[in-house]
């Protein structure tokens, strides 16, 4: 019988250290048939099982057309993710997925795209930026807005600099707390939405990060007269099953694991407005 909860064995093809505490696992399924049948969309996630320790939801950040390996960029935070940080090439883990609804890339094609993210390299946004940057000509203007708490928290500073030099691309990085040599803005990233020069008629906004940040961003976007339906966001909740059964990821009547994690803003407007739902 088809078992929705049974992981498949996967192996680490390559381990990349991104920064202190952040690493990328490049993976392949051990069973070639499983590997060949695996398809995902940016914004979707897998459940990754660390032997004996547990399963955690992690976004897929590689390109959906790359069928050699798939990548997970992980921040070592707790029991399971710290364990993953210890893995090395050829080590095994369990994977099931992909789950959830990803970013509305078909709708974004041909339009200006604004990506707003907060926190440390918010993973669902990484997959999105990677996807668009690799197909730059299919999209209009691109604005990448990244907020961090402290200037030292920014990883991939080099990538932001490179992206800011691409044509038709604007990068705004803001740290709540700056440092003397910090080349970017100081303040909340949402304070700088006014600098994004958004054309409300042809822009789609995609964001992820702390809910307070997303609430503030929606406020900032309203000044442009952007329709609410042009705003998409990825939500984070505790996820233990990823198939809409365990109940942990609920927000109101939504199961974030299967109805999300990416939502159109009008779907969650009322839910986002209440704290502690």
């Amino acid at each position: 019988m088809d078992d929705p909860l049974l992981p498949h064995e996967a192996e680490v093809a390559e381990y990349i250290r991104e920064s202190a505490g952040i690493f990328t696992l490049r993976l392949r399924f051990r069973d070639p048939a499983v590997h060949a049948g695996y398809r995902f969309a940016p914004g979707q996630f897998n459940m990754l099982y660390l032997y004996g320790a547990g399963e955690v939801p992690i976004s897929v950040v590689s390109d959906p057309l790359d069928d050699t390996l798939f990548d997970h960029t992980i921040r070592a935070l707790g029991r399971v993710t710290r364990g993953f940080a210890q893995l090395r090439a050829a080590d095994r883990l369990g994977i099931r997925g992909p789950y959830g609804r990803g970013w509305p890339l078909d709708q974004a094609r041909g339009r200006d795209v604004v990506i707003i993210t907060g926190g440390l390299g918010c993973a669902p946004a990484v997959s999105l930026i990677n996807y668009i940057v690799r197909r730059r000509e299919e999209f209009g203007r691109l604005v990448i807005m990244q907020g961090v708490k402290h200037a030292d928290d920014l990883i991939w500073a080099e990538r932001y600099r490179r992206w800011s030099q691409m044509a038709q691309t604007q990068v705004v990085v803001a740290a709540d707390v700056g440092t003397p040599l910090w080349p970017w803005q100081v303040g909340h990233v949402t304070d700088f939405i006014g600098q994004a020069h958004i054309d409300a008629r042809k822009t789609i906004v995609m964001m992820c990060g702390p809910e307070g940040m997303m609430r503030a961003a929606v406020g900032g976007l309203q000044a442009y007269g952007l329709p609410e339906s042009a705003v998409w966001l990825s939500m984070e909740r505790s996820m233990q099953c990823a198939v809409g059964r365990c109940g942990h990821c609920q927000i109101g009547g939504k199961f974030v694991c299967k109805d999300g994690p990416v939502f159109n803003y009008p779907q969650v407007r009322e839910l986002l407005a209440v704290r502690g739902l």
Partner: protein, 368 residues
């Protein structure tokens, strides 16, 4: 469909037929002052001449002089633990010396159950659990294994408890479907109805007698009385709008002052489905298991993500329970998640009454 009348003294014959068909019979029995479901071999184990006195924060059994087997409302458990086990292994994994992992699904090995004395509210709750665990593209295999082959013998309620309010939710006191057999218990015996082909097959050889008009009247009258005796009720069957528009009602804080966040309500509730997963490993490191275990939205872990507990206090957790049960369930399953069984009222150590809280919040008033 009405099948006939079974004399009270011949109830064992029904159990014998079910045993003969290979079912393991489960029936209500008195244990430690409460009615629970347990393996049933003879009808002598049924709670004959017993009634239950239930009210907010209280459950008590009392002897009566009657001879009925089902003259009480309900016990601690509904059907939930039989289909959705409180704890069960979902899969196992073996690790070879070279680190290779082999995953294998775990399935409950299960005799077909025949459950005797199922209440209308519990059937309604089972229909909701079926939708949750089976009603998607890929069914939950463990639930499906337990559920398939289950034979259900309902008994319409004649004696609701002080906590019951199934009449107001529309789920009782009469079972309207989802059973193989349904019984109306009268002093002299049972009117037997069939709800499925296998139900009809089971009673075909029982030698049922024709039902008389006065027996039929008596059964209808006792359902009406059972309905009329219920004192509690919800303000409406769809409280979604009222709950969603009152997330900051002061009553949430007031009930949080009384609530112990013990999770009794979610564990006795026949429709709560939340569960956590739990991973373990053999001491020698050669194998592991992945299990699920009932969880409750009253725990801190339920809404924890790294560095943040989304629902940090009892106020937001009680609000989740009530708003999910009576509100967002509509969005998920097309109806309320409450079937009016009253268990959360009786088994709450603080005596919190879901009908009172719902009324207070939905009427917009903060006192009373």
């Amino acid at each position: 469909m009405e099948a006939g009348f079974l004399q009270h003294g011949r109830f064992q014959a029904l159990l014998d037929v079910l045993h003969g068909c290979g079912y393991r019979c489960i029936g209500p029995q008195v244990r430690d002052g409460a009615i629970v479901y347990d393996a049933l071999s003879t009808c002598r184990e049924l709670p004959q001449g017993v009634r239950d006195l239930q009210s907010a924060g209280s459950y008590r059994l009392e002897r009566t002089s009657g001879l009925r087997y089902f003259g009480w409302a309900n016990g601690l458990q509904a059907l939930k633990p039989m289909v959705f086990a409180p704890e069960e292994t979902l899969w196992r994994v073996q690790r070879a010396d070279d680190g290779a992992l082999r995953f294998s699904a775990s399935r409950p090995s299960f005799a077909n159950l025949a459950v005797i004395g199922v209440r209308a509210c519990d059937l309604a709750a089972l229909a909701l659990l079926d939708r949750h665990f089976l009603g998607t593209a890929v069914a939950d295999p463990c639930y499906a294994a337990r559920r398939s082959g289950m034979f259900l013998v309902a008994v319409h309620c004649s004696d609701p408890s002080g906590s019951c309010f199934c009449a107001s939710t529309g789920d009782g006191p009469q079972a309207s479907g989802g059973f193989d057999l349904a019984l109306s218990e009268l002093d002299e015996g049972f009117i037997v109805e069939t709800g499925s082909a296998r139900g009809a097959d089971t009673v075909a050889g029982l030698g049922l007698e024709p039902v008389t008009a006065s027996q039929r009247d008596a059964a209808a009258r006792q359902i009406d009385t059972a309905r009329a005796r219920q004192r509690r009720g919800l303000p409406s069957r769809d409280l979604r709008a009222a709950l969603v528009s009152n997330p900051e009602h002061p009553r949430w804080e007031q009930v949080a002052q009384r609530c112990l966040a013990c999770g009794n309500c979610t564990s006795v509730c026949p429709t709560c489905f939340c569960h956590a997963v739990c991973d373990s490993m053999e001491l020698d490191g050669s194998a592991g298991a992945h299990a699920r275990i009932w969880d409750s939205c009253f725990t801190a872990g339920h809404s924890q993500i790294h560095g943040l507990t989304v629902r940090p206090d009892t106020r937001t957790r009680y609000r989740q329970w009530l708003t999910h049960k009576l509100g967002s369930w509509h969005e998920q399953f097309g109806r309320s998640g409450c079937v009016g069984c009253g268990r959360c009222i009786s088994w709450c150590p603080a005596g919190i009454d879901i009908t009172e809280e719902a009324a207070a919040i939905c009427s917009g008033s903060s006192d009373g």
